[in-house]
């Protein structure tokens, strides 16, 4: 096969602190146009610092080279397929970066008069409308900063509603296939967590659920499609079971990329959900953030949404702070506005028909990968898959090679690994989500690579166990890092003497 990669030179680079030399600068400031104030007089001698010990001293060229060199040690979507399951690593259109930097959007202060913020408020209102339409919900808050933050918001909404009816109840049911954030969130909202075992098809078993739901149940937190990429075909019944006992259903919208334009959570019985705008709506992951975790809810939860809320006053937008039943703020200001701008730009570029087409292509790509790999890797569930497919390492484990090892070997073939060892219900999981933005050529290269690795495992498992072989950094020792954590740079005592 034609491999995607071959090795090339990469630059070494010390840490900024090691690069530093006294007196170097990389900034310019205009001359001060007011009298200089003596810091010790203004702040008090005890409050004024003499220097920031060991802080970097480098030039502008040093800075550019330093970070450019570091960047070449990273893998990103711009370099190729990034098949992390449940993370929806799709192409990030660059026009979204440009519009978010528009002067009138990037440089506005959250407290400037509403009359001078109408454009920003209009953008937020339009995004709220689009997300309500996509999810089939009645109201949307854009305040939460990330998916887990949205989950907390959603569960607090549920708690407030139940409390207003006299009893917040005690437990939240979470399927064993759920993301770790779900149980962690339930705890933060003051609930206990009851884990629900998935059935042989990898989905929620309505009968087991019915047995678990009682008058102490506040809600079920469900992911649909779930983390094995399977649509919960009994979802309507699942929601009815909860509702019949006065409980609610929260949906983790991490996998919404499988549903946009095809199926709406609001229509199949969900009460409240979050969307990861950095997944489904393509705002860049940026190495781990910023994201945005918009929450969409049904009418009965709307009075509890965090404030302030957008409202119409005549022909103008205004912020309404008069929300006596609101759960309160979950963050300062109004949300990750810059991320919201990008998400709306994405929605506008696709339009309704384009969003639906993206969903279809995402599901097509996942099914294609499933078909090409199922002879070589153990397919976890036979149920039809949506936007992602999960295999287990059963075949390879017999040769002593685990999912994590296969992942490291995949790096040698020029790809970022899939999600490793998750969901927990699949032993040795390989969770693969290609997204709609990958071409058949790229996907074929990826499948060819995984098939080649499966053959390598048979032929030479020791070689796979030592992968990656071609990266500038060999396999990293994570165990010692945790045993004696070194989480910051410090000048070595000898060096400090030399500097004196």
């Amino acid at each position: 096969m034609e491999k995607k990669v071959r090795s090339h030179i990469s630059q070494n680079e010390p840490l900024l602190f090691e690069l530093s030399s006294p007196g170097k600068i990389g900034y310019q400031l205009p001359d001060l146009d007011v009298p200089a104030v003596d810091p010790e007089k203004a702040l008090g001698a005890g409050q004024t610092r003499r220097e920031i010990e060991d802080f970097p001293e480098v030039s502008e060229v040093d800075v550019i080279r330093h970070f450019t060199r570091l960047s070449t040690w990273n893998y990103g979507i711009d370099l190729g397929l990034f098949p992390l399951g449940s993370c929806t690593m799709k192409y990030n259109p660059r026009v979204n970066e440009l519009v978010a930097r528009t002067e009138g959007l990037a440089w506005i202060h959250p407290y400037q008069p509403e009359s001078l913020s109408q454009g920003a408020m209009e953008i937020m209102a339009e995004l709220e409308r689009c997300l309500a339409e996509i999810t089939g919900m009645d109201a949307v808050t854009l305040q939460p900063a990330a998916g887990a933050h949205g989950e907390l918001t959603g569960v607090l909404l549920i708690r407030s509603l139940l409390e207003s009816k006299g009893n917040p109840r005690r437990k939240i049911i979470v399927p064993d296939s759920a993301h770790g954030t779900n149980p962690a969130t339930a705890m933060m909202a003051g609930y206990t967590v009851e884990n629900l075992k998935s059935n042989d098809l990898g989905v929620v078993d309505p009968e087991a659920l019915a047995r678990a739901v009682d008058e102490n149940t506040a809600a079920l937190m469900v992911t649909n499609p779930n983390t094995v990429g399977v649509f919960e075909e009994e979802i309507v019944k699942v929601c009815e079971i909860l509702h019949s006992k006065g409980a609610l259903v929260y949906m983790d919208g991490a996998n919404m990329n499988a549903l946009v334009g095809i199926s709406r959570p609001g229509d199949f019985g969900i009460d409240v959900m979050h969307l990861n705008l950095h997944k489904t709506f393509s705002t860049p992951h940026g190495g781990g953030g910023p994201g945005s975790g918009a929450v969409a809810a049904k009418k009965h939860l709307e009075p509890f949404l965090p404030g302030p809320r957008l409202a119409r006053k005549g022909s103008q937008w205004t912020w309404n702070y008069d929300l006596p039943r609101s759960i309160g703020r979950v963050r300062a200001y109004y949300g990750n506005f810059g991320v919201l701008v990008r998400a709306l730009a994405y929605i506008m570029a696709h339009g309704g028909p384009g969003l639906r087409r993206a969903t279809m292509d995402a599901v097509l790509n996942a099914n294609y990968i499933r078909r090409r790999l199922e002879a070589h890797y153990h397919l976890a569930y036979k149920s039809p898959c949506m936007h992602e497919v999960v295999f287990g390492d059963d075949h390879q484990a017999k040769r002593g090679v685990k999912t994590g090892d296969i992942a490291k070997r995949l790096i040698d073939y020029g790809f970022h690994p899939y999600t490793v060892s998750f969901p927990l219900i699949v032993h040795g999981a390989l969770m693969i989500e290609p997204t709609e933005t990958e071409s058949k050529q790229e996907i074929d290269l990826f499948c060819d690579s995984l098939i080649a690795i499966a053959e390598e495992v048979e032929r030479d498992p020791q070689m796979v166990l030592k992968a990656p072989h071609t990266t500038r950094t060999a396999r990293v020792d994570e165990v010692s890092a945790a045993r004696r954590p070194v989480v910051r740079w410090r000048r070595e005592p000898a060096q400090s003497k030399a500097a004196d």
Partner: protein
């Protein structure tokens, strides 16, 4: 592809979805637009906001100049389009940079450990409070009324269902500093943490050492918050605090109507296992070369699930990168000079206005309206294309006819003179 799959059409891949879970109409969203139309659309929305105004608002969001290099670096696809660095071998760029970020935050705050960032300053406050609860085994939180009002609201939202009572304590009406007597009276053997902000919401520099002394006497932790990170360039770091939490927006992050920003939590070595969020640590690779990786993840939700220190998953990596680039450009000398310009500008404007508080301040201060209402002053300023200060009565009913003003290195003398003139009218 369909042939390989053995499907007739893409539609058939959705056939297993139950009928009552399907959307049988097109989405009510107009058809897709071209790049040109999208650029035009957002430019037009931008023009409906304030453009070309001088701005004297602070209150947690600051107008600081952003060196060009910051955007050049964060626009690189290898940073922009990468993911949380779980696969250390192909994420050394991000990991190395976060290690540098953590180090610089420690250097600025005088702490031993800093995490890889939080969503923002406001959500870092309840996370810091929960940390204090875990570290002390106590439940009560005391928070100064001089902490950003919206940060306190966020704290209350988080605290409500965690059995974490939150009580406030006031400030001295003369100085604008926290009321140490009230703090001393309220802190007791149930207090897990005392939260103050310095410079506080009024811009006043607090005596962190005094507050820490009172908290520590009763076995409580002191949590120090900051919203104006530039102050750290000139101010003595809050070494007496146990936890420092704050907002980094000042470091090259555009105001952007309130987000995305990046928060941090930093602390003493002994609390390292209580810190929420991502941490990057130094280690070696199989060839013995220095390498970095995410570490102590047994604190986190993806391993610990319901027993995690927090549900936080995302950090604000790209924003933290922006701050890291900014801090390397300004460096040891520049950050100090930048802070000094802010200090000098604010003191110039303050010298022309009646001040509400006598306490020492950095780049924000509270002006007391004389005669005319501060809203009327702001209205007149708008005509001169100046956005004035934030009226405080909405947040502090006792602070009638006052406004919070902020100057940065971007504030020009002629605008400050104009503002002072309008104020005095």
């Amino acid at each position: 592809m369909l042939r390989v799959i053995g499907a007739e059409s893409i539609d058939s891949l959705f056939e297993h979805l139950p009928e009552n879970a399907r959307l049988n109409r097109p989405l009510d969203i107009p058809p897709g637009k071209s790049e040109f139309e999208i650029v035009e659309h957002f430019r037009a929305r931008g023009e409906e906001n304030a453009i070309g105004y001088a701005n004297f608002l602070g209150a947690g969001v600051y107008h600081h100049y952003r060196p060009v290099v910051c955007d050049v670096i964060v626009s690189r696809g290898e940073f922009l389009t990468s993911y949380t660095p779980y696969q250390a071998e192909i994420a050394q760029g991000t990991l190395t940079q976060i290690f540098e970020f953590q180090t610089m935050i420690c250097q600025l705050t005088g702490m031993d450990v800093a995490n890889a960032s939080m969503y923002d300053g406001s959500s870092a406050v309840p996370e810091a409070a929960m940390m204090a609860v875990r570290a002390t085994g106590r439940d009560k939180i005391l928070v100064a009324r001089t902490v950003h009002p919206e940060y306190r609201e966020v704290l209350r939202t988080y605290a409500r269902y965690q059995g974490m009572p939150v009580e406030e304590f006031g400030y001295d009406g003369e100085t604008g500093e926290i009321d140490l007597n009230e703090l001393e009276a309220k802190v007791d053997e149930h207090t897990a943490g005392v939260i103050i902000q310095s410079p506080n919401f009024f811009g006043i520099v607090e005596g962190v050492g005094n507050a820490a002394g009172i908290a520590h006497k009763k076995g409580a932790l002191l949590i120090d918050i900051f919203t104006e990170a530039v102050a750290l360039g000139l101010m003595e770091p809050p070494r007496q605090a146990d936890i420092v939490a704050g907002e980094l927006q000042s470091f090259a992050i555009p105001p952007s109507y309130g987000g995305p920003f990046a928060g941090i939590i930093a602390t003493k070595e002994k609390f390292i296992r209580q810190i929420p969020g991502r941490l990057v640590g130094e280690t070696k690779d199989a060839n013995g070369k220095r390498a970095f990786c995410l570490t102590l993840s047994t604190r986190e939700q993806h391993i610990r699930r319901e027993k995690a220190t927090s549900n936080i998953c995302t950090n604000q990596a790209l924003i933290a990168l922006m701050a890291t680039v900014y801090l390397s450009l300004y460096g040891k000398q520049g950050l100090r000079e930048l802070a000094h310009q802010n200090l000098s500008k604010a003191h110039y404007l303050a010298s022309k206005l009646p001040l509400k508080f006598q306490g020492r301040f950095f780049n924000e201060f509270v002006a007391q309206g004389n005669g005319r209402s501060v809203e009327a002053v702001n209205q007149d300023l708008l005509e001169k294309k100046i956005i004035g200060g934030l009226p405080l009565e909405r947040y502090y009913p006792e602070l009638k006819n006052t406004m919070l003003l902020c100057c940065t290195e971007m504030s020009r003398r002629n605008h400050m003179d104009e503002l002072a003139e309008v104020f005095a009218k």
